[in-house]
């Protein structure tokens, strides 16, 4: 199954490398969101809760774009039927899709987090990295688990592009809460404060629950 997932993952990443459909759009949206936030808030730099909010809004909006694109190739080119015709396990498809989204998010953050530090963030980024990187990775896991599930639900419908963000945003809110509470402490004006254990724990649990839901439900979603 891992081998099947790796083959599918390679296909998705290759498609993205050649077509460049999702990531550039995600990057552009994230960049634009930061400019919008600068003018909407009317502030040159942000700290604490506002900084955390700006970062997560930017990342979450870009994530919905990524979730939207996750199944586009499959749907528009009829690739999904081809994949389903092969004796591949549904869980392998889920794993491949979730990993694709995870990689998209990490790639996005590699560019966007430094850009955020340059453009908007008040406090220095470097001392926060120790807490920020694990938090980002955990949120990415949650986004990957929820996104792979939502993408597969939305792709069934005629209004896929409308539904994916509408479904994904409320489902990701608990992850956003945990992420924002952690980042708020990290971006505090007085310097990063330690994060209480319940937030990373909640993020991990959230990713786990949605991962399991995906494993249980993918069989029914992609079954024709």
């Amino acid at each position: 199954m891992i081998r099947q997932a790796l083959i599918l993952l390679r296909k998705d990443l290759l498609l993205e490398l050649r077509g460049r459909e999702a990531l550039p759009a995600m990057l552009l949206l994230a960049g634009t969101t930061m400019v919008v936030l600068h003018f909407a808030l009317g502030q040159r730099s942000v700290t604490g809760g506002t900084a955390a909010g700006c970062l997560w809004v930017t990342l979450l909006f870009s994530a919905t774009l990524g979730i939207n694109r996750l199944f586009v190739a499959e749907q528009e080119e009829g690739g999904l039927d081809a994949v389903l015709l092969t004796p591949v396990e549904r869980t392998a498809i889920l794993l491949a899709k979730a990993t694709t989204l995870f990689i998209f998010m990490v790639a996005l953050e590699l560019v966007i987090v430094p850009a955020f530090a340059l453009l908007l963030l008040g406090p220095d980024l470097l001392p926060t990295l120790g807490g920020l990187i694990p938090t980002l990775l955990l949120v990415d896991l949650a986004i990957a688990a929820v996104g792979a599930l939502v993408g597969a639900i939305a792709v069934q419908s005629r209004i896929r592009d409308l539904l994916a963000p509408l479904l994904a945003l409320p489902l990701l809110l608990p992850a956003l809460i945990a992420g924002a509470k952690s980042a708020e402490l990290l971006f505090a004006a007085a310097g990063p404060a330690p994060i209480p254990g319940r937030w990373p724990l909640m993020l991990a649990l959230y990713a786990l629950v949605f991962g399991l839901l995906g494993v249980a439900l993918y069989d029914y979603l992609l079954d024709d």
Binding site: L167, L171, I177
Partner: protein, 240 residues
């Protein structure tokens, strides 16, 4: 599925009468029997509508998830119908909950909406998520696919509800009355009795409406199939 209408329609009349009596009595008690709460006065009485609606809506969403799970397990369309009707009715109750909650918040705290209020915020998030159920459902034409996607959504959203409540509660300060936790102990007997009666009435209302809509949906489906058969027969008769 041929006997489904009789199953869903059975006892509907008695149930409707029981619902009217229970809810009517409960509301009469609310106005004429229960004391005015010292702190909030008359406004607090909205509690007898607001809290039962919220509880029944959340139970209805959960039931929708369980029915959805049954649909996925058995592949029978009737489970999907049950899930759909549950969620659809709960969505209406949830709208009512948000409106009455807002009125209560205005009277009790002076604002229509209070953000540092975990129950309110969680409920709004759950409402926003379930509001996507119908757009999702009706944008899928193939009935089999529709039933499956809607059921998967019902299961996912059903699992999301408790997680979401836990997450929001962890994040916010406490101001909402702990309806079922601490207050029950401090609630006078008259209030508790009336509240439980209102809750029972609201549950009965939900069950009645649910059965009614199921019976009507089944009847409509049966009618459509009978019509189709007659049309076929006429067409064949015409050909012969």
């Amino acid at each position: 599925m041929t006997d489904a209408p009789t199953v869903h329609g059975r006892g509907l009349k008695r149930l409707a009468i029981a619902t009217t009596l229970t809810l009517g009595t409960a509301f009469a008690l609310v106005f004429f029997w229960t004391p005015n709460e010292l702190d909030q006065g008359f406004v607090q009485k909205i509690f007898y509508v607001h809290v039962p609606m919220a509880i029944v809506a959340l139970c209805g969403f959960t039931a929708g998830g369980i029915f959805g799970f049954m649909q996925l397990r058995t592949g029978k369309r009737v489970w999907d119908m049950r899930s759909y009707v549950s969620i659809h009715l709960s969505l209406m109750l949830a709208t009512g909950t948000l409106i009455t909650g807002s009125i209560w918040a205005k009277a009790a705290w002076g604002h229509w909406w209070v953000w540092d209020e975990p129950v309110l915020v969680s409920f709004l998030i759950v409402f926003l998520l379930y509001a996507c159920y119908q757009p999702l459902r009706f944008s899928i034409e193939d009935p089999e696919r529709q039933a499956r996607a809607a059921s998967v959504f019902a299961v996912v959203a059903g699992a999301f509800v408790p997680l979401n409540f836990a997450a929001v509660r962890l994040a916010e300060a406490y101001t909402h009355p702990r309806t079922l936790g601490t207050t029950t102990g401090g609630m006078p007997g008259t209030m508790l009795f009336t509240f439980l009666l209102a809750l029972l009435g609201m549950t009965l209302l939900f069950v009645t409406l649910w059965k009614y809509e199921m019976a009507s949906k089944n009847a409509r489906m049966k009618l459509a199939s009978v019509k189709r058969r007659i049309e076929n027969e006429i067409a064949q008769g015409g050909a012969a």
